[in-house]
């Protein structure tokens, strides 16, 4: 029971972190048609910047400064890179962001080195928030939940309650029309791209010390975020949110579940004992294939529901 509760909370924390990354990615994609491969790289930069800034000014200033720097970096990438490449079509854009991944990767390694950073949870948040059946829930995870919920609310309010949000929503469906009505659509694109990078940077700040800040973190996070975007459905923030939480919970549960598939078959009265490949596969504990589950689910959803959970289009 305590495992279920704690895993659920941990899954929620991880899911919200995923959502912070995936929401930016899905907004950028559905509006600009750009699949930004470098999105997780911005997440990594956020973590590294947060580490450096926090050494000088402390964690809480870093929580604000690092995401803003990531947002500015995003704006620069959009204005000086994507906008120019845009005329040459989507393949060029794809290759451009793909190239960025390597540049950022090398840049990070050259600046900060290959070893993991000593980016730690700030002392003030380093205590158990509460204890259930002897299992601790760290205060920092509670803090992560708070930050990500706050960000979710802020993004929602921005999109639904402000004029710029209205223009963003309009440009999502008919960018040309929004432009003919006198709205500066390229600027809206820059704002969305920078906003997505700001969110990714923030995810890096609070995720960098939750996981490890090291040069492989973008590679580790990138694929999962893509899975979330595909699973939730392109162009749907609500779908993206559900997918993030589902992925977060599944991945956390998979790690702690000690069963294998064969254990699920037993109650049905099926027993497999023969010594063959099938038995071998069935006896692998779920915990060991946990990391595979999201990708297996992505394949299933692509096969049976290509537009994703709540997607608005089939691309």
């Amino acid at each position: 029971m305590e495992i279920v509760l704690i895993s659920l909370l941990n899954g929620l924390v991880y899911g919200m972190l995923l959502f912070m990354l995936a929401s930016g990615l899905t907004l950028i994609f559905s509006m600009m048609g750009v699949l930004n491969f470098a999105h997780a790289s911005i997440y990594m930069i956020g973590a590294y910047l947060a580490f450096t800034v926090s050494q000088v000014l402390g964690f809480f200033p870093a929580l604000i400064i690092a995401p803003i720097l990531c947002g500015l970096l995003g704006a620069a990438i959009e204005i000086y890179g994507l906008r120019r490449v845009h005329h040459n079509g989507h393949i060029a854009e794809l290759l451009f962001t793909f190239g960025l991944v390597f540049i950022i990767q090398r840049g990070v390694q050259m600046t900060w080195g290959m070893l993991p950073m000593a980016y730690r949870v700030p002392a003030i948040l380093d205590f158990p928030l509460f204890t259930v059946y002897g299992a601790n829930f760290p205060a920092y995870r509670g803090f992560m939940l708070l930050i990500s919920a706050g960000m979710l609310l802020a993004t929602w309010l921005l999109l639904k309650k402000t004029r710029i949000g209205l223009i963003i929503q309009a440009a999502l469906t008919h960018p040309q029309m929004a432009s003919s009505l006198g709205h500066n659509v390229p600027m809206v694109f820059t704002i969305v791209f920078a906003g997505g990078c700001l969110l990714a940077g923030l995810a890096g700040v609070i995720g960098g010390n939750y996981q490890t800040t090291e040069p492989g973190m973008a590679e580790a996070m990138g694929p999962i975020v893509f899975v979330v975007v595909v699973f939730g459905g392109l162009g749907s923030l609500a779908g993206c949110f559900i997918a993030s939480i589902v992925m977060g919970v599944i991945q956390t549960f998979a790690v702690v579940i000690d069963y294998s598939f064969i254990d699920f078959l037993k109650p049905l009265g099926i027993s497999v004992t023969a010594d063959n490949l099938l038995t071998e596969i069935l006896t692998v504990p779920v915990a060991r294939i946990g990391a595979l589950l999201p990708f297996a689910m992505m394949i299933l959803i692509l096969l049976f529901r290509p537009r994703g959970l709540l997607g608005t289009r089939d691309t």
């Binding site: 004029r163 209205l166 223009i167 929503q169 309009a170 469906t173 008919h174 040309q176 029309m177 929004a178 432009s179 003919s180 009505l181 006198g182 709205h183 500066n184 659509v185 390229p186």
Partner: protein, 232 residues
């Protein structure tokens, strides 16, 4: 001259669509642009708006606007109502109209009350997602959305296409109302009846250029032009 187009060319990729279009719209004038499907009438509008890259001269009140970004063309005072309507389907009727405003709360000749008085249907469905409106209601919404931005010249592409006769009549009334408020109109139409009734001057297009220019009376008198370029 309010709008002056000289030797306008436009391409879609490799295909050459406009072969040197010349036309003019004066202050407060209603001008029709007639012709069969595919002769380049819509492309002319798009090229003026900068939605298709124009080559040639497009002058608005003496200022060269050819190749400006669409939002800047719009901010000069040209409004555009596209043939495919392009309403924002997930947003409400009111939000669609709000998007027509170039700045929040900045009303010109048109405001929400005007629109809702002219079209009670839209009033009743203010908070409905625009995507579920009927075709006719969507057409009215598209025109009103552009009017909210208070253009001095409005390019309207096929407003009556696919509408029932009763609704065509409503579009006609709105066009008259637009003219009464001193807005110039460049009307792209296929239905001669409505175009001939409201316009002072007209152009006929064929194969990407202007093939006839005159008044409705001139066109009525010229059976050859009608047979060759208009009648199906």
């Amino acid at each position: 001259m309010m709008l002056e187009v000289r030797n306008l060319h436009a391409y879609y990729g490799q295909s050459h669509i406009l072969h040197g279009v010349d036309l003019e719209v004066g202050e407060g004038e209603i001008v029709s642009l007639l012709g069969r499907n595919g002769v380049g009438r819509s492309t002319t509008c798009k090229a003026i708006m900068g939605l298709v890259p124009p080559q040639g001269v497009v002058k608005y009140r003496g200022k060269d606007v050819a190749g400006l970004r669409s939002d800047l063309v719009a901010r000069c005072g040209i409004g555009y109502v596209p043939e495919d309507r392009q309403i924002f389907p997930t947003l409400t009727v009111r939000q669609n109209l709000e998007l027509g405003l170039k700045k929040a709360g900045k009303f010109g000749r048109w405001n929400f009350q005007d629109v809702f008085r002219l079209f009670p249907n839209l009033d009743a469905r203010q908070d409905t997602a625009a995507g579920v409106l009927s075709g006719g209601e969507q057409q009215m919404l598209t025109m009103c959305r552009t009017l909210m931005g208070d253009p001095d010249l409005i390019l309207i592409d096929e407003p009556t296409e696919g509408l029932a006769p009763k609704l065509v009549e409503q579009v006609g009334l709105l066009l008259e109302e637009i003219a009464r408020r001193g807005v110039s109109i460049l009307l792209v139409e296929q239905k001669l009846t409505i175009a001939l009734k409201i316009c002072a001057r007209l152009y006929v297009m064929g194969h990407g250029r202007i093939v006839f220019e005159g008044t409705p009376a001139d066109l009525n008198a010229n059976a050859d032009v009608r047979r060759e370029w208009l009648e199906v």
